[in-house]
């Protein structure tokens, strides 16, 4: 039912007048509301069983309207019908002279397709970036489907959450006449006037129009259909627009049992068929529109253990609140048990300060060779450095996480927690992370507190705003790179000049 209803633009809800409003009538109303189907007509069926009574019809209409109002569904019409006898289906029934509204067929013809999207601000979830080099094709195409609004050649565009900007150079499509404009609903592509590094999952918008929200924490409505309940603080995968992020259920505000519409304020999980108003947190920011503004970029699904287990809409951005990560770190630090040795005593004995050094950049830039050579260089100067190969964690500390991509946030947290411990022990802790973005670094930085992080980026800089402490071009010699990092450590007084 969900699969079908979620694709619908209008719905006919059928109620058996003889049975009255039952659990299913309510659940279906709730689902239609939740899925955002705007045009709803209620067919009051089997009127022949109640002698075509206007009184019975009006009573049911009043009761069901009241229920639908609670869940914010405003039906277009109620039609009394007898499906078996054909009353009011194709022609008005002589047996219900008191009804002069539309027949079911007229009502179906009266439903309109949603054209308003065309007039909304431009929204283009970036589905992929293509560069197919066969037959000397050098186009780098940003591909996707226009979710709302339109864009023309020459328009300035902004990518969120990265904040990168460019302008439309061409509109790309196959076997069509050349296009100047891309309008709502079309699946096509663009080339840009400048070469910028963007990832699939970003939302392309026009900076001249109202912007979507960007945040990591938001209030949502979720309709849960998973076999296992949705539980607090477990890591799930969120899919919204073309973005995929790991997400946690931070709070459950209230839940609604879709069968009897009873509210509950104190549930600690969402069970199958619960509708919950909740607070979610993603590990990195996502761009979205609150569903009231534009439903196509405000709808999401949640994946639990490979299955789509829930769907929902974003109600509002709550990014100003304390995040789960901030709360976790605050509680961790409040309860941190210290030994008897002071940080300064360690620094004095070690003759250097603690530091967490992260080498980032695209795979294949030689990060690991440099990281290992740095460890060796520091060690040979009798400094306490330790290099950790991240693969060692996969089969060790992270063995319980398997190879499930949903756990990316948890993997990162564990590296950050390790850094917290090793820097507390006074060491220079060195590791490498492929393709880290602004939020990965921000997360590690926070987890490593109160010690500080030092980021060395190799090769192309793919950060949006973050400035690495050191930028080294790919392809240089290992010893030069080690010297550059060592010099920076001296400048920052992590190690003292005369030691080297």
């Amino acid at each position: 039912m969900i699969t079908g209803a979620s694709r619908a633009e209008s719905a006919l809800l059928v109620i058996d007048v003889d049975e009255g409003i039952k659990e299913n009538s309510k659940r279906h109303g709730q689902m239609v509301s939740m899925l955002g189907v705007k045009q709803v007509t209620v067919l009051v069926n089997k009127m022949d069983l109640v002698d075509f009574s206007q009184e019975v019809f009006e009573k049911l209409k009043a009761d069901y309207s009241e229920f639908l109002a609670q869940i914010k569904v405003k039906p277009v019409s109620f039609i009394p019908v007898s499906a078996r006898e054909g009353d009011n289906i194709a022609t008005l029934s002589e047996r219900m002279p008191w009804y002069n509204g539309a027949t079911v067929l007229q009502q179906l013809d009266g439903f309109t397709s949603d054209k308003q999207l065309e007039d909304k601000p431009f929204r283009f979830p970036v589905q992929d970036i293509y560069k197919f080099t066969r037959q000397n094709d050098d186009r780098r195409i940003v591909a996707g489907t226009v979710a709302a609004g339109s864009v023309s050649i020459g328009d300035e565009v902004l990518f969120l959450p990265s904040g990168k900007q460019s302008a439309i150079k061409t509109v790309e499509s196959f076997n069509t006449t050349p296009k100047q404009v891309a309008s709502t609903g079309s699946a096509l592509g663009f080339t840009l006037t400048t070469q910028i590094y963007i990832r699939p999952g970003e939302l392309m918008v026009k900076p001249s129009e109202p912007l979507p929200e960007v945040g990591t924490r938001f209030r949502v409505n979720i309709f849960w259909v998973g076999r296992a309940p949705m539980i607090l603080e477990k890591e799930y995968k969120l899919k919204i627009g073309s973005a995929r992020e790991s997400v946690k259920l931070a709070e459950i505000c209230n839940t609604l049992d879709a069968s009897d519409l009873s509210y509950s304020k104190n549930k600690h999980q969402l069970d199958c068929r619960d509708v919950g108003e909740c607070i979610l947190e993603t590990s990195r920011p996502i761009a979205f529109d609150p569903a009231a503004a534009s439903e196509t970029t405000g709808r999401f699904v949640i994946v639990d253990n490979y299955e789509i287990a829930g769907g929902g809409i974003v109600i509002e951005n709550l990014s100003a609140d304390e995040t789960l990560l901030q709360r976790h770190i605050r509680e961790r630090e409040n309860n941190w048990e210290k030994g008897l040795i002071k940080t300064e005593e360690r620094e004095h004995a070690n003759r250097h300060r603690a530091k967490f050094i992260v080498f980032t950049g695209v795979p294949g830039t030689g990060k690991r060779s440099i990281a290992k050579a740095l460890e060796q260089g520091l060690f040979s100067n009798r400094l306490n450095a330790y290099y950790l190969g991240v693969a060692n964690i996969d089969r060790g500390l992270d063995a319980d996480l398997g190879f499930n991509a949903d756990n990316a946030g948890e993997r990162l947290r564990r590296i950050g927690e390790l850094a917290r411990i090793i820097t507390d022990a006074g060491l220079i802790f060195i590791t490498t992370i492929d393709d880290a973005d602004d939020y990965d670094i921000e997360t590690l930085k926070q987890l490593n507190e109160p010690s500080d992080i030092l980021v060395v980026n190799l090769g192309e800089n793919s950060f949006s705003h973050y400035h690495p402490d050191l930028q080294i071009p790919a392809g240089g010699s290992v010893s030069d790179a080690v010297k550059e990092v060592t010099d920076l450590l001296k400048t920052k007084e992590i190690i003292i000049e005369y030691q080297i």
Partner: protein, 292 residues
């Protein structure tokens, strides 16, 4: 946007979703009109390129025009064309035309079994070499975990129960009653190791839509679909011992569209010329076991 534009946009979206999410992806090309439209939609999705291998299961009983057409298009469109077969059944003549099995069993051997083992990489695959312009043994042995298939919901009862992204377990079994929900345009693209998925970009298309789109885009299709003067044409293509033409005078795509709109074929199932469907259990039995 008209109806065909919407269908096209949705199929393109699904193909791009599949390409983004599955590392080891292939597209089944039966040479028929539906999967040829799907191949065209891939060129739409990827701006003239087809970055996905096309797999054809050759029963060696296909109508010869089909194979000629396949290889001509493969070369013209620069396709990564792969075929597989059930060599053992063919060599030991375990087929219906040889008189050694019934039709359903023959389909099972030459199509379902061949498909299963070609997808898994256990049986040899043959790849079109664009330099030599002929097939050579394919080095690639990795299993395809995402398989794009051109089935349509209106074709036949069991196909109407499909999802756009439909999981199969490691034995290819399709659990019709327990399928994942598809909310809005978010599909099941996460799979446990050992399972794989069938992707159906044409699910919402009808036979008429297919022909209207072929006309609009001027997509080349096999001549067997048209009456060549004998008053018959093929409406659905398969192996020659089990596929019969229907009575029709349509010689061009617009004539086929008129014929379909006129309702002259409305009481005749599209696959009525396919003899295996009328045997016990028919297509649903074949499909549960991996048939497309």
């Amino acid at each position: 946007m008209d109806h065909l534009d919407k269908l096209e946009a949705q199929s393109v979206y699904i193909l791009r979703e599949a390409y983004r999410e599955f590392k080891s992806l292939c597209m089944l090309w039966s040479i028929g009109k539906d999967s040829t439209v799907m191949l065209w939609l891939a060129r739409k999705a990827f701006f003239g390129h087809v970055p996905i291998p096309l797999v054809h299961i050759d029963t060696h009983y296909k109508i010869p025009e089909m194979i000629t057409y396949r290889d001509r298009i493969a070369l013209e469109w620069n396709l990564n064309m792969i075929y597989g077969e059930n060599r053992e059944a063919l060599q030991s003549k375990l087929t219906f035309p040889d008189g050694n099995t019934d039709r359903i069993t023959c389909c099972k051997y030459l199509k379902s079994e061949a498909l299963k083992h070609t997808l898994s990489g256990q049986w040899p695959r043959y790849r079109m070499d664009h330099e030599l312009k002929r097939y050579v043994p394919d080095e690639g042995k990795e299993p395809y975990t995402g398989v794009i298939v051109g089935v349509r919901a209106d074709e036949e009862g069991s196909r109407s129960k499909e999802r756009y992204f439909s999981p199969r377990d490691k034995d290819n079994v399709w659990d019709v009653g327990d399928q994942p929900p598809e909310f809005w345009n978010q599909f099941k693209t996460d799979f446990a190791p050992g399972t794989h998925v069938r992707i159906h970009p044409l699910l919402d298309w009808t036979e008429l839509n297919i022909w209207e789109y072929i006309e609009r885009e001027k997509i080349p299709v096999v001549s067997l679909y048209f009456n060549q003067g004998k008053g018959t044409r093929y409406r659905s293509l398969g192996c020659y011992p089990c596929t019969n033409p229907v009575d029709s005078v349509s010689q061009t795509v617009p004539e086929i569209i008129d014929e379909l709109k006129s309702g002259r074929l409305s009481n005749i199932a599209e696959r009525s010329g396919r003899a295996q469907d009328s045997e016990d259990g028919g297509l649903e039995t074949l499909r549960r076991d991996g048939y497309m």
